[in-house]
């Protein structure tokens, strides 16, 4: 009864951008949970 879905691990967007020489400024991770205020 269990359905298993394999996941693949990839670099985060911040890490991927950093490798392209683009450094994202700090952004509060919890903004994701505050869509109204955003």
């Amino acid at each position: 009864g269990i359905v298993r879905i394999p996941l693949r691990k990839h670099k985060s967007m911040r890490e991927a951008l950093r490798e392209k020489g683009i450094e994202l400024p700090y952004q509060d991770p919890a903004l994701k949970y505050q869509p109204d205020e955003f």
Binding site: V3, I5, R8, H10, K11, M13, P29, K32
Partner: protein, 326 residues
Amino acid sequence: SSSDYMYINNYADYWNTPQSFQVLFDTGSANLWVDSIYCSTQACNAHTKFNPQQSSTYSANGHTFYLPYGAGSLYGTFGYDTVNVGSIVINHQEIGLSTNEPGQNFVVAKFDGILGLSYPSISAGGETPVMDNMISQNLLSANIFAFYLSRGGQQGSVLSFGGMDTNLYQGQIYWTPVTSESYWQIGVHGFEINGRETGWCSQGCQSIVDTGTSALTAPSQLIGHIMQAIGAQESHYGMYMVDCSQLNNLPTLSFVISGVALPLAPSAYINQHYQNGHQFCSVGITPTYLPSRNGQPLWIFGDVFLREYYSIYDRTNNRLGFASAA
């Protein structure tokens, strides 16, 4: 060589004719969306796009949405289609079709969309999340899903629907109730450094368990104390660095949840990078300046935490289980 990663599944199919997409399974949001032919920004053009005209089972509902994820945002329109996730076929599933993905962030994303697994109360547009349709359509043997996030290479991580995999964890499962049926939010009742209670959560803290966030996120009022205990120095762009030669001397951090201390060893919260032959060690802990909705300090248990603990999300009993990852 960094351990700053996200975990993305094989693909989800949309019928009929099947169109396949890689999606990020995100316990920190509730909507399902994919890139679509209605979007022509650089971020959309970098990914597989859903074409509703090639699906005989698709129907539009005319509503539009905006989804901010912090590290990227998008606009879109809602529709319905049959969705196949790992051989589970969901009929009449609401899906978001992106119409505008501004900026650079999603350009580098390895996913074509996001599949949210949190509660329907936070779903943009009031759309029914995938898990809720799985439940209402009786597609699961138990209303549970569970994440195993590999510490090692690209492969090996598993999302299980309908139950938990006993070979992916060891020891006892520790259960704690969901404190707000919106996110997968739980209470944190203590925080220890090297086994010594700090008292920083003696008045109560909250944590959102979020597979869509890579770091462990700490309340901003605590970050200075934590970094001092670790001996980390603030670097650029909000990163904190430690001397790699001191990794064996760094403290173990523990969260007390429903009376049980769940430790994180330094190897769990330190990322090692190699650049031009030099080794750098950064701390996988970032601050948040926003409190939880009940005003208590907010933590986010991202992948740094979830690589160490197999996590079980129980919708029937509205509780979260943690066990040491195998």
